[in-house]
Amino acid sequence: MAQTLLQVEDLHTQFFTSRGVVRAVDGITFHVDAGETLGVVGESGCGKTMTALSILRLVPDPGKITSGRILFRGKEVTKMTDEEIRDFRGNDVAMIFQDPMTSLNPVTKIGRQIEEAMTAHERFTETLARGRVIELLKRVRVPAAESRVKDYPHQFSGGMRQRAMIAMGLSNEPSLLIADEPTTALDVTVQAQIIQLMKQLNRELGTAMMLITHNMALVASLCQRVIVMYAGRIVEEGPVEQIFNSPQHPYTWSLLRSVPRVDEARKDRLVSIRGLPPDLSNPPPGCKFHPRCPFVIDKCRTDPEPSLSEVGVNQVARCWVLMRNVTDEGVEAAKASALSKDAAAKLKAPVLEVEGDAGR
């Protein structure tokens, strides 16, 4: 049984705007074990990044963590003093962002920036830090590291910049690295190299990784466990094989079928999720996914949002229906509804058969 590194309990992060309160993160509970790779997926605006920023207490104004607990190795992050939180960031948890160009200082040499990340935490003296920089750049496979420490960010390519960011993130040997869309701005060949690097670092250093992405294929490639977020909530969670092979929440199911696969032989129609993600200052009643769900039943609209219930070994989902209760005809109808507006109506087959006691 692996040791729990990070435990997030009922976390709420809200933004107080003139339009009202935006519930960016709306009561999520999850954990990260030491050395594991966790994927957090969902569309933009579902609260993935805000969850990460909350863990580091970097939520921008006018946002605030309003309630919940964040325990790192049993220590409460939300109650840390300013000094403690500075120590916590970088030393315990580091984060890398999507765009390495905007995260690096353009007028400071790469080597100097990595040094700063180390000396700021006073774990390394300046001399020691300087010596470690080259070693770190080599570790993230920057070729000719000895000469490239003196380069400025603009002299690095996109992939090299992201490597430098990862080197910086790892410089203080954190036990958790949060990567927010680390490869979205990169070319596929470079993306493959970065993902390969993250896999190797996870194996070599035992650093736990939290990969935030909208790209399901990256999650399949890198992660052991997956959290699916929708409208600030976790809607499904489980081991990667189960999530991909038997997703139970219709959102997870649709997300997987909305992306084309490069290994598909036939031009199958994509399942598109109708409509848009909800406005988080005014979310729909009941299940938040119901206005877009192809398998919606009355209960989804009228009853309070379902809780996360066990649907498999270590797999939980927040849904009244669950994909295993949807008949093949129902699935076909959902695919057909993506085909054209009236094609679904023509299918007269039963869309759903709920087993057991449906009316509680």
């Binding site: 190299q193 294929a217 399949a220 997987l256 490069v262 598909e264 031009k267 598109s272 999720i273």
Partner: protein
């Protein structure tokens, strides 16, 4: 034979090729001694057939977008010719060029930057109709509503401004604008790259529906090979200003003939953990060289896992020749030999 099914039946035309690119070159001079230039497109031969979707892939900086602008006559070529329906558009000027432009439209990546924020959606969609004096004022207004309906937007939205729409809806407006003048050829330059997955799926499905309905020919440019394979009948791979391989969408994936194509395809993750455990990406050495001073011989040779350099690969630039399956061509001295 999906492409054949969709060929227009009304027009009896001998030439199945709509766009024929012959030795297209585009250099951007950057000054300095010896007339240095960015050789963005450096000798491209390509055919786009009527009713098909040709996918164009490659890493950033390989010249995809420049080629798109050459094909739509938005940029003049440095050398070579581009035949559109039998006419060399690189030699057309004035009203003749305008007439051809009406038949080709382009959809851009960023739906935020490509719509004028101070124009209403109605004005945006009516502008191309005004430019080409199509129909009466009343007819144009009806056409605008019809266009909105075609792309799945509420036809009463004509008085709204672009900022009132989401990214996906804006991309629909961009598509409606491209359709306004009834083009036969549409270039989609990273048209779905900026969109969220579920929204991208909606736009991809919409593009397919519109193609079927109006017999459109697409040049679909993207760096996402999965999306390109999904939409395309044939795929062309570009590297450093040249086309290195063209083939049917399935052949290129099952039997790539060029080592770059193979490496590119192997680096794409698949949303399936079981497949991912087995997948071994071919890692390319180094990075794309500068298009100002491309390598000698085959441009891919410094990064190629099978190159013979020094040797034929560093000396002779291989031509794009038939290799592998029918309708497949690759520019490699050792095509398929890996």
């Amino acid at each position: 034979m999906q492409a054949a099914d969709r060929k227009p039946t009304t027009a009896v035309r001998a030439d199945p090729v709509l766009v024929r690119i012959n030795g297209a070159v585009k250099h951007f001079p950057i000054g300095g001694f010896g007339g240095l230039a960015v050789r963005a497109v450096d000798g491209v031969d390509l055919e786009i057939r009527r009713g098909e979707t040709l996918g164009l892939v490659g890493e950033s900086g390989c010249g995809k977008s420049t080629l798109a602008r050459l094909v739509t006559a938005l940029l003049p070529v440095t050398a070579g010719s581009i035949m559109f329906d039998g006419q060399d558009i690189t030699r057309l000027r004035g009203s003749k060029l305008r007439r051809v432009r009406r038949r080709m439209q382009i959809i851009f990546q960023d739906p935020f930057a490509s719509l004028d924020p101070r124009m209403t959606v109605g004005d945006i969609l009516q502008e191309p109709l005004d430019n080409f004096s199509i129909g009466t004022v009343r007819e144009r207004r009806v056409r605008v509503q019809e266009l909105l309906r075609l792309v799945g937007l509420n036809p009463n939205f004509t008085n709204r401004y672009p900022h009132e729409f989401s990214g996906g809806q804006r991309q629909r407006i961009g598509i409606a604008r491209a359709l306004a003048v009834n083009p036969s050829f549409i270039v989609c330059d990273e048209a779905v790259s900026a969109l969220d997955v579920s929204i991208a799926a909606q736009i991809i499905n919409l593009l397919q529906d519109l193609q079927r309905e109006f017999n459109l020919t697409y040049l679909f440019i993207a760096h996402d090979l999965a999306v390109v394979r999904h939409l395309s009948d044939r795929i062309a791979v570009m590297y450093l200003g040249k086309v290195v391989e063209t083939a049917d969408r399935n052949d290129i994936y099952d039997r790539p003939q060029h080592p770059y194509t193979k490496a590119l395809l192997s680096s794409i993750p698949v949303p399936d953990p079981a497949v991912e455990r087995e997948r071994a990406p071919i890692s390319l050495k180094g990075e794309i060289p500068s298009p100002v001073n491309p390598p000698s011989g085959c441009r891919f040779h410094p990064r190629c896992p099978i190159a013979r350099a020094p040797g034929i690969c560093s000396d002779v630039d291989p031509p794009l020749e038939p290799h592998g399956a029918e309708d497949q061509a690759a520019a490699c001295h050792f095509a398929g030999q890996f």
